[in-house]
Symmetry: C2
Subunit: 414 residues, 2 copies
């Protein structure tokens, strides 16, 4: 079945805001065997809304309208859908009573226009909203000679999600033919997108029945695999077979097959080995520490870090010898290694990480251009240093360098 998702709200037509509910819904719909064929954004204008609802009715069998269910005059979704379907809108006295009771319980007077939220399209099932006042609506019926499902859901993401999971998912499962869909995610570190695609395209092209989506960020590529066949076992078998081939090709650049982030994998290895870590960062400016501490419970293995921008602090906080900086420059293999070794000794950690480079856009020289970064990992026995020349703006260079450093730690602990 094909679906159209319609996000309603004039703010979604400004340069500042974007519909994100549709991404969440698409994930769930795909799992049910429903493909999203169209997405539309429309403002709080009655004529536009009716037009959009009619267009959707003419081209798909499932229509999900998000937003415009509140109490204000701008909230026109109920009216517009009723008009598009040629159905009546009736104020539900039970809903009205419940709404007044809800306000009374909060010792607040309900403005009368709130009653508009209790208008129900003839034949619709009401979907209670546990997080807000605007109920959703579920309409199932024959329109234009075909069976259609039409859903009205609230715009605030937390309201939409709870309502979808508690009220909608089961109804959809009951209304739709069973779908057999299997998915897998493979995450790859530090492979350029073009290189990755050149290596894996010959493989995934053999699997025409598995949908492969490639998402690339600085230093990380995600491969999303999805297969839909006439049995779950068959779908799983196809996805697993492709995943196995891809993993064989990509080898140890694959860091996760279960959806985990690179920092989660590093955290997992550190905990498994009872190891601790400390970092001394120059050009990444705290980004590595920030990622490692984004995980709850990271205090078990993350001891601390030094962000050492000035040469003086490289010496004062990570014991990098002044002479070494004078001889090789702050951006050098030697200083990266000294940062990793110094912060490790200072903090008494199992692993020390050091990063120094030129993030740009200023500060580059012919010998040390923008994008040049040295990454070091020390474990007390051996210190490895990796030199890379990244391409992109400051933010991108810093993200590549952060991922390179985390990947070095992963490989050290693997």
């Amino acid at each position: 079945m094909d679906a159209e998702i319609i996000a309603i709200g004039s703010e979604l037509l400004t340069p500042f805001r974007q519909d994100t509910n549709s991404l969440y819904l698409t994930g769930h719909l795909n799992q049910l065997g429903v493909e999203v064929a169209f997405k539309t954004v429309v403002g709080d204008t009655r004529a536009h809304l009716v037009q959009v609802a009619k267009t959707a009715l003419s081209r798909t069998d499932m229509i999900i309208l998000i937003g415009g269910l509140g109490p204000t005059e701008d909230d026109l979704t109920r009216e517009a859908v009723a008009a598009a379907l040629g159905l009546e809108l009736r104020r539900d006295p039970e809903l009205v009573a419940a709404l007044y009771a809800r306000f009374a319980a909060l010792r607040r007077q309900m403005p009368e226009n709130n009653e508009r939220q209790c208008d129900v399209i003839a034949g619709a099932a009401v979907l209670p909203n546990e997080q807000g006042t605007a109920p959703g609506q579920w309409i199932e019926g024959n329109y234009a000679g075909r069976k259609k499902i039409i859903l009205l859901l609230p715009g605030p993401p937390w309201e939409l999600r709870l309502m979808f999971e508690k009220q909608v998912l089961e109804r959809l499962r009951a209304a739709l033919p069973p779908a057999f869909i299997a998915t897998r995610i493979i995450k790859v570190a530090m492979v350029p997108e073009s290189t990755c695609d050149a290596r894996i395209a010959p493989i995934y092209k053999k699997y025409a029945d598995v949908q492969t989506t490639i998402l690339a960020d600085a230093g990380e590529i995600q491969l999303h695999l999805r297969s839909r066949t006439d049995s779950l076992a068959a779908a799983q078998q196809r996805v697993d077979a492709l995943a196995d081939e891809l993993e064989d090709e990509l080898g140890d650049t694959v860091f996760s097959t279960g959806g985990e982030s690179l920092e989660q994998i590093v955290a997992y290895y550190l905990e498994m080995r009872g190891a601790t870590i400390a970092v001394a960062e120059s050009c990444t400016g705290g980004m590595i520490a920030e990622r490692l501490t984004s995980i709850s419970g990271s205090s078990r293995y993350f001891l601390g870090g030094a962000v050492v921008y000035s040469n003086e602090l490289k010496t004062a906080m990570a014991d990098v010898p002044e002479l070494l900086i004078a001889q090789h420059g702050a951006v050098s293999k030697q200083v990266a290694a000294a940062l990793a070794e110094g912060i490790r000794r200072r903090s008494n950690s199992t692993i020390g990480v050091g990063v120094t480079g030129v993030a740009g856009p200023t500060g580059g020289t012919e010998e040390k251009p923008v994008g040049l970064v040295f990454h070091a990992v020390a474990d007390g026995v051996q210190t490895e240093v990796v030199e890379r020349k990244f391409i992109g703006d400051r933010e991108r260079v810093r993200r590549w360098a952060m991922r390179q450093a985390l990947d070095l730690v992963r490989r050290k602990l693997m």
Copy 2:
């Protein structure tokens, strides 16, 4: 004039990818007096594309189609728009020759299907693509009895932006009646969204002719003002009058009226005063250092930072007395102050910042609950500490705390 933006590509109908080009285009269109009335996302399916193009032609006078201009069989935008308009598609021999020459210059053989990119809709002006191989197209004409502008632009954002700025903007200015639009952005630190709205709603509601958009993030609120009248002076006057009233109401919680980020404002004050800064972070885990160093040239004022998760490192890197931690706990007013003072002395900076708290979701106690954070700023004369209890998940608590610390520095330097 109303516009519809149509983003084309099956990947934009997955849970993983989102059209962002439309936000960029909306900003420019609004400046030209064009309102975006509809946004549509459609996959690489010929019938769907034709249907979407026809619907757009029936409801708006400007239609911008993004993507689907490449050389593969999935790239159907040219064909679909020609079909919707009832116009012929003609292969342009000059474009074909130029494309072969381009491949020859790169010493590469051009696959024949690349010629598809040289198909031009009858009457369209070709928009050269300096960043890629797929040219855009500009169609102006009467359809359904109305003058319409139809634009075909490439999907990759860097190609789209350069083409829009170099090829499209001037044409649009010439084709549209002059528009008089003034805008302002006011940014506010550390005011909860509901408090801010309660204070400013009575003001902006008086200015029905100025569109006010409120965007809230952890610790930061942006107010976007926009006015359109029959002269630029009148539009500017209305926006400025509202901005003045809002600034009066919000006082020194306003940190920017020129679009700058909080870290840029802090950087500006530090440079203006010839001051330097160093930070000692616990729960923010490097986020403050990361933000301060996200700015190019930050090495002029940012000396360094310590991310001190363990108690030992609080002592070793920021000279927090062990006894102080034992007496008051690591999350305390006293330790925050000691972190700020310690890192300041250690790094010889003008300003020292210290942050300690419970980011959660674990680690909270009755006395020190999740979300409790102490922020300190020391300048050698005086140390200020601000205690806050933030609400939200780990990421949100950390962002609030980062902004609170930067705002304290701003106020200290103001």
